[in-house]
Symmetry: C2
C-alpha cells in the first residue's frame, strides 16, 4: 500500500488552531504494536455497514464513519480510496460467503431430491441461508438490510444486485423448472420477482408489519417468517406457472 502523487503545497499555514474538544487518541505516526486496535480496516467496514444499512448510502458521510470508528477521515482514504469503494468493499465482504452457502444449499437439495424436487424444497433451500444469517447476529442483519435497501435503489443498485446474485437465482429457477414442467420462463421470472420483493421487504427491517399488525407480528421473528414465506411463494409459483393447485 503506497501512494505517490505530486501537487503543490499551499505554504500559507498561519494559525495552528489547536483546542481539540474530544480527546484524540494518539499523536501522528504509526502506533506501537501493543496499542490495541488491530484490524482497524475491519472495524471501518463494520461501522460503515451499520451506518449504510441504517441511513442509506447518501446520508452517511465518510467523516461520520471515521468519527464513529475513532479515526481520522484520512484513514478511510488510506484503506479504501473513496466513499464508493468503501461501499463496494462493505458489499463484497459478505457476498461471497452467502452466495457460496446458497449455491451449496441448492445443489444439496437438488442432489437429495433427485427427480422428486418440489417448489417448496427449492424455495426453502434458497431462503434458509439468508434468513439464518439474518437471525444470526447484528453484522449479518445489517448487511442483509443493506442488500435489501440497495435492491430497491435506482442508480447503480440494479447492477450491484445483478452482478452479485444472479447466478444463484438462475440456479433456483432451474430447479423449480424441474418441479413445474411446462412452466414458461416468463412466468417463472415473474414469480421469482414477487418472491424477491417479499424477501427484500422482510429483510429491510422497516418496522412496517409491526406497526400495521399493532405488534402482533414482529419483523425480526425469523422462525415465524420462514415457513410462511416458503408456503406463500410456493403456492404463488404453482398458480402463476399453471400447475394444478395442490
Amino acid at each position: 500500500m503506497s501512494k505517490v502523487r505530486t501537487r503543490r503545497q499551499s505554504a500559507s499555514a498561519a494559525a495552528p488552531q489547536r483546542a481539540r474538544l474530544v480527546a484524540r487518541r494518539t499523536k501522528p505516526g504509526r502506533p506501537p504494536k501493543n496499542s490495541a486496535d488491530p484490524a482497524l480496516r475491519e472495524r471501518i467496514l463494520d461501522v460503515a455497514e451499520a451506518q449504510f444499512s441504517r441511513h442509506g448510502y447518501d446520508a452517511v458521510s465518510t467523516r461520520a464513519v471515521a468519527r464513529a470508528v475513532g479515526a481520522t477521515p484520512a484513514m478511510i482514504h488510506y484503506y479504501f480510496n473513496s466513499k464508493r469503494e468503501l461501499f463496494d468493499a462493505v458489499f463484497a465482504r459478505r457476498a461471497d460467503v452467502i452466495n457460496t452457502e446458497r449455491m451449496a444449499a441448492l445443489d444439496a437439495y437438488a442432489a437429495r431430491a433427485g427427480a422428486n424436487v418440489t417448489v417448496e424444497g427449492a424455495i426453502a433451500a434458497f431462503l434458509r441461508p439468508a434468513l439464518a444469517k439474518f437471525a444470526e447476529g447484528e453484522g449479518w442483519r445489517n448487511y442483509l438490510t443493506l442488500v435489501a435497501q440497495v435492491g430497491n435503489k435506482h442508480e447503480w443498485g440494479g447492477e450491484v444486485m445483478t452482478r452479485s446474485f444472479d447466478p444463484v437465482i438462475q440456479r433456483l429457477i432451474a430447479i423449480i423448472r424441474k418441479a413445474l414442467p411446462g412452466a414458461s420462463d416468463v412466468n417463472l421470472y415473474w414469480a421469482y420477482h414477487f418472491l424477491s420483493g417479499a424477501l427484500l421487504l422482510t429483510l429491510s427491517e422497516t418496522d412496517r408489519i409491526d406497526r400495521l399488525s399493532a405488534g402482533l407480528c414482529r419483523s425480526v421473528d425469523i422462525p415465524s417468517i420462514e415457513p410462511r414465506m416458503v408456503e406463500f411463494a410456493a403456492a404463488g409459483f404453482r398458480r402463476v406457472c399453471g400447475a394444478a393447485p395442490g
Copy 2:
C-alpha cells in the same frame, strides 16, 4: 404567505460578482402576469417528485431542484419552508387521490360481491388503482416509485407509509378475512406483508427483472404484471391462511 424574521445583516458586501453563465430569466421582482410560467409551485413539485424518485431523498439537493425548474433556491424556501417539507408536499399531493380511489374500489368490490367475496377479487381491487396509475403516465410512475423507495427506507420511511396507507390496508385485510373464514390475524398480516413486498419491488422500477430475464420480462409491462401478481398473492394467501388449496 408572509415571512417575518429578524437577524443581522453582514454589511461586508464587497465584490458584486456578476458574470452569470447561464442566462437567468428575469430581474428581481414579481413577474408580469403574461410572462408565462404559471403555477411554478406545481412545477417545483413535479421536478422534485422526479428527482426524489430517481435518486432518493438524500441525493437530491434543493438547489438541483431549483436549477432544473429554472428558479432560485429562495423560491423553494418561499413555497415550502424546508427540504423536508418539500418532500412531504410531494408525498401528500397524490396520496389522497390514490387512497380515495383504492378505498372506493375495495368498497365497490365488497358491495358487488356480497357474501361471495374471493381473495382474488379483493386483491385485484386493491392493486388495480395503483397499477393503473403507474401505467398512466410519468407523474404517477415517479410518485409510485418514490413510495416504493420510501417503503424500504428506515428513518422516517415507516411512519410516512403507516400514516398514509394503513387504513386502506386494513380494509383489504377485513375483506380477505371474510373470504377466508378461520384465518388468523397473524397469518393474514404476514401474507399481506409478502404481497406488499412484491408490489413495492415491482413499482420501484429498478430494471432488476429485465436484466435477470435477459429482456424476457419488462418491469413496466403492467398488463403482464397485474394478473400474475393477483394470482400469485391470492394463492399465497390461501395457503398461508390455511384454506384448502384451489
